[in-house]
């Protein structure tokens, strides 16, 4: 999925200009290569766009190139989270729940596609985006959604939900989900702070 030309690329950085590969210093180039290894396979599998035809990253990745050391550290954390083995549908449901709470358009668009690719039903995706109770999720994904929504909305986890989450994921699995939640809160805060748009909306305008 790459846009046909550069038209529409203006504005995809939101409040930030898009950094072209030729603009990068050595440390940024290193982060650029790391992000490519980490993100491009995920974007391809999920059917969303993270890099334009000219090599510029979009979404949160353009912003992260401004802090290459931090971006590399975040990549290390994300890699370990990927290796932990959270089920694909659980992962996408958590990410969409976070993205919807933040109103982060780029993330909503990217992970609607990624959620569809791992079999989350369209009705459930629509409900997650509209912040309604989703139907048709697996039991684990439904539990992960409730845990995420409870933390984002009330910043608390009631006893019955806690017991259900630990029974489903174990203590380690719950900590991993909290890290995933935190990782995407960072991504969404970057998208909102810099008003990074979704690709489709921007290209259509």
């Amino acid at each position: 999925m790459q846009p046909s030309g550069t038209r529409g690329a203006e504005g995809l950085g939101g409040r930030l200009p898009l950094l072209a590969p030729a603009d990068l210093d050595d440390q940024q180039r290193h982060a650029y290569d790391l992000m490519g290894q980490l993100i491009l396979p995920e974007a391809e599998a999920g059917g969303f766009t993270v890099k334009l035809g000219d090599g510029s990253f979009i979404g949160p990745f353009n912003a992260l190139l401004h802090v290459p050391g931090i971006a590399a550290g975040m990549g290390a954390w994300a890699s370990q989270l990927n290796a932990f083995g959270i089920a694909d549908d659980v992962r996408q449901v958590v990410v969409l729940t976070v993205a919807a709470a933040w109103g982060a358009d780029y993330e909503i668009e990217a992970h609607s596609s990624a959620a569809r690719a791992v079999g989350v039903p369209d009705d459930a995706i629509d409900a997650l985006i509209d912040r309604r109770v989703p139907q048709g999720l697996t039991t684990d994904a439904a539990t992960a959604h409730l845990l995420t929504a409870s933390l984002l909305t009330d910043r608390t986890v009631p006893e019955n939900l806690y017991a259900r989450a630990v029974a489903a994921f174990g203590e380690a699995g719950v900590v991993a989900l909290l890290c995933l939640l935190g990782q995407y809160q960072v991504v969404c805060s970057i998208l909102r702070c810099f008003e990074v748009p979704a690709l489709v909306h921007s290209a259509a305008s």
Binding site: R15, L16, A63, L64, H66, V67, G69, I70, A72, G73, M74, A76, W77, A78, S79, Q80, L81, A83, F84, A101, W102, G103, L147, L151, R155, T156, V157, Y162, E171, A172, V174, V175, A176, L178, C179, L181, G182, Q183, Q185, V186, C188, S189, I190, R192, C193
Partner: protein
């Protein structure tokens, strides 16, 4: 700062505190890394991260459940702490996040660390009660407003965005967003597992 281990079992909240002798190899590696990275910060900030019997408390006990993920989080954390944010800015952001989550351990630990970094008590009290702080540096004040706006409204108005970029630069602002996210993650762990404060400090909002 040290703390005796007697009657400390409740400090894990919903989790049991893990004793060093019970850790597997990868947990032990993380334990050593936490010892090297966190204990100096705790000593400087005047808060308790590990008991005298060697058990970690606060978020660290929970992180021992996921040693590889926690090691990755540690790499990110180290890079954020090298981003050059002033101590006062850093502590202001952390307290603002901790207060929003009512994360007792974080509030107590970073009330102490904020004092060490020179934040006035009245500013600390204001941050913890969610009222506009006075007596902060301009930088810390802007960082507080950025954090509070993102946590409540999930957006930054143009004037605050412009002030933040003028003060910290784009890179500095992104570092602040990462610091917010780091402590949102820590706070969510504290809240989910109901991890209490050890009660050694003098948090006015216990």
């Amino acid at each position: 700062v040290t703390m005796a281990s007697g009657d400390a079992d409740h400090l894990g909240g919903r989790l049991a505190l893990l004793a060093p002798a019970g850790l597997d190899t990868s947990q032990r590696r993380l334990y050593d890394e936490l010892t090297a990275r966190v204990l100096p910060e705790a000593a400087e900030g005047g808060f308790v991260a590990r008991l005298d019997d060697g058990r970690f408390i606060g978020p660290f006990n929970a992180l021992l459940r996921v040693p590889a993920v926690a090691a990755g989080l540690g790499e990110w954390t180290t890079q954020i702490s090298r981003a050059g944010l002033a101590d006062e800015v850093r502590q202001t952001v952390i307290l603002t996040v901790g207060a929003a989550w009512s994360a007792e351990y974080e509030i107590e630990a970073h009330t102490s660390a904020a004092r060490v970094a020179g934040l006035p008590d009245r500013a600390i009290d204001a941050i913890l009660t969610g009222t506009p702080p006075t007596g902060l540096s301009d930088e810390a004040n802007i960082a507080h407003r950025v954090t509070a706006c993102l946590l409540t409204a999930h957006a930054l108005a143009d004037d605050l965005y412009q002030r933040a970029v003028a003060t910290f630069g784009e890179a500095g602002l992104i570092a602040i967003l990462c610091l917010i996210g780091q402590y949102q993650t820590i706070s969510s762990i504290l809240v989910c597992f109901q991890v209490p404060a050890p009660g050694h400090g003098h948090s006015p909002h216990k």
